[in-house]
């Protein structure tokens, strides 16, 4: 199983590199799907088959399909490939690459010292601590934020509705159109 772990980890890294360097958006998304499946295999070899299956079902099977769907609808042509190629020139990626390298060095240094929980001052806030704070003293704020998001959703759905067509009222329902009175 160790061989499977390292192999699929390698595939995940290579596929992710493919996502970044590929100039065709749809091909890049295909690389991303491969990367996600490779990560699922990593989970599987680590003894978490449930997480692996969910990774494939949720990420590769649902979310990425929507990504591919939207990219296909945009009908990106040669212009986008040229633009992507321009963005891959050293002059463009040098700055972000240096900054990312600094972050990578920090991460490696932190991992090297072996003490992940070390902070400047105070104690480490775990996900559990954040959860208990959010759903304890700040519950009202969380609920208000949820209602705000719901209101935004309803508004978007209302604004996005198509106007009634210039046709006589139909007896049948007509998809997403407003009801004709």
């Amino acid at each position: 199983m160790e061989v499977a772990f390292y192999l699929s980890g390698l595939v995940a890294v290579l596929a992710t590199l493919g996502v970044i360097t590929n100039t065709n958006p749809v091909h890049a998304l295909l690389y991303l799907v491969v990367s996600l499946i490779a990560v699922a295999l990593v989970f599987f070899s680590l003894g978490a088959p449930f997480a692996a299956a969910l990774e494939v079902i949720v990420y590769a099977g649902a979310i990425m399909v929507l990504f591919v769907f939207v990219v296909m609808m945009l009908n990106l042509g040669e212009a986008v490939v040229a633009q992507e190629r321009a963005w891959l020139k050293p002059r463009t990626w040098l700055g972000p690459a240096v900054l990312a390298a600094v972050l990578l060095l920090t991460l490696i240094a932190a991992l090297w010292r072996g003490d992940i929980g070390l902070v400047i001052s105070g104690e480490t806030l775990t996900a559990k601590a954040v959860g208990t704070t959010l759903f304890g003293p700040w519950l009202l704020i969380v609920e208000l934020a949820a209602m705000l998001l719901l209101a935004a959703l309803v508004t978007a759905s209302h604004v996005g509705r198509l106007a009634a067509p210039d046709k006589p009222p139909m007896h049948q329902e007509t998809g997403a159109r407003k009801e004709v009175r």
């Binding site: 065709n24 295909l30 449930f50 299956a53 969910l54 649902a62 399909v65 591919v68 769907f69």
Partner: protein, 326 residues
């Protein structure tokens, strides 16, 4: 014969079983193409293909010869990589799903803990075949077909998974063998009748079978996502559809109709008979139903089937909690 240890024998038997299941699925898919046309002829009061061999039984060989010798044409405007990849995904993802189906107590490929989830994952991957096939063809009809297919499949996969969760809740396991063994006394179609109905509908929609064959509607889209495909690449999509039919039938039998369980006859015969019944049902549906409008298909999925599966799941959960010993 010193190398023929019990371990080696077990590996060889497992490989032979996997090969048998693989070949069985593909061959059954291929034979179904002819069987379907004959049965459609019978039910629609006309002759089907009845010229080649006695009662048209050699039609399959004629079809295969034709499909192999056609020119394998890739349009110059197509995206070559994805164009070649799409039929392979279509076939492979469906065939891989067969490994979780236990045909008899001894004939199975893999006994996964997450059997049912594995099938759902493969069904999710299968969407890419249609999406990439339609997009890479560089044809607007193919693209519209792919759009319809992916929207329809995504919508129906939502409650396909939910429809199965009732069965999982009763059994308490995703493992297909556990599910079949739990149906020793009574089949799950009785307590999970609505789960069965919605799964059947979702299964038809996900395999794009009539009446949910919106992606390939000949009248509007001139064959949808595989319009630019020819020869064996088209053959993969074509056989893949029938393999999907076999897969959904076998899953319905495994999940709702007791798998191999049944009196008198050996397990494999029961499994084959039940699967055959659902294959006939698939074909009968195609023979008898018209194709609904596309927006109707979508609103039926979201407004009728999804609430139905949710209510079914809610009631199943409540009953399990009520009946469960403390």
């Amino acid at each position: 014969m010193s190398w023929l240890t019990p371990q080696v024998t077990a590996i060889i038997i497992a490989m032979l079983q996997a090969l048998a299941v693989l070949l069985g699925a593909v061959l059954l898919g291929a034979v179904l193409t002819v069987v379907e046309r004959r049965l459609l002829g019978l039910w629609q009061d006309r002759y089907g293909p009845n010229r080649v061999g006695p009662f048209g039984s050699l039609q399959l060989i004629a079809d295969m010869l034709k499909i192999f010798f056609k020119e394998d044409w890739i349009p110059p405007f197509a995206d070559r990589t994805l164009f070649v990849l799409a039929p392979a995904i279509a076939m492979a993802s469906l065939l891989l799903s067969f490994i979780v189906i236990p045909i008899t107590p001894n004939l199975y490929v893999a006994d996964l803990h997450i059997g049912l989830l594995f099938f759902l994952a493969m069904a999710g991957i299968n969407v890419y075949a249609v999406l990439f096939g339609g997009w890479s063809s560089g044809n607007k009809y193919a693209l519209i077909g792919a759009m319809r297919a992916s929207a329809q499949t995504l919508s129906y996969e939502v409650f396909m998974g939910l429809a199965l969760m009732g069965v999982v809740a009763i059994t308490g396991s995703f493992n297909m063998r556990d599910i079949v063994n739990a149906q020793e006394g009574f089949w799950f179609v009785i307590p999970q009748f609505f789960g069965f109905c919605t799964f059947l509908i979702a299964g038809i929609a996900v395999t794009h079978r009539h009446p949910f064959d919106q992606p390939e509607a000949e009248q509007e889209l001139a064959d949808g996502y595989h319009i630019e495909y020819s020869s064996m690449k088209f053959g993969m999509f074509f056989i893949g559809e029938y393999v999907g039919m076999v897969l959904i039938s076998a899953l319905i039998v495994t999940l709702f109709f007791g798998g191999w369980h049944g009196p008198w006859l050996p397990p494999i015969v029961w499994f084959a008979l039940k699967t055959g019944f659902f294959l006939m049902l698939f074909i009968l549906l195609r023979a008898s139903l018209p194709r609904p409008r596309y927006d109707r298909v979508m609103s039926f999925g979201w407004k009728v089937c999804l609430p139905l599966t949710l209510i079914n799941l809610l009631i199943t959960g409540a009953v399990i909690l009520l009946v469960a010993p403390e």
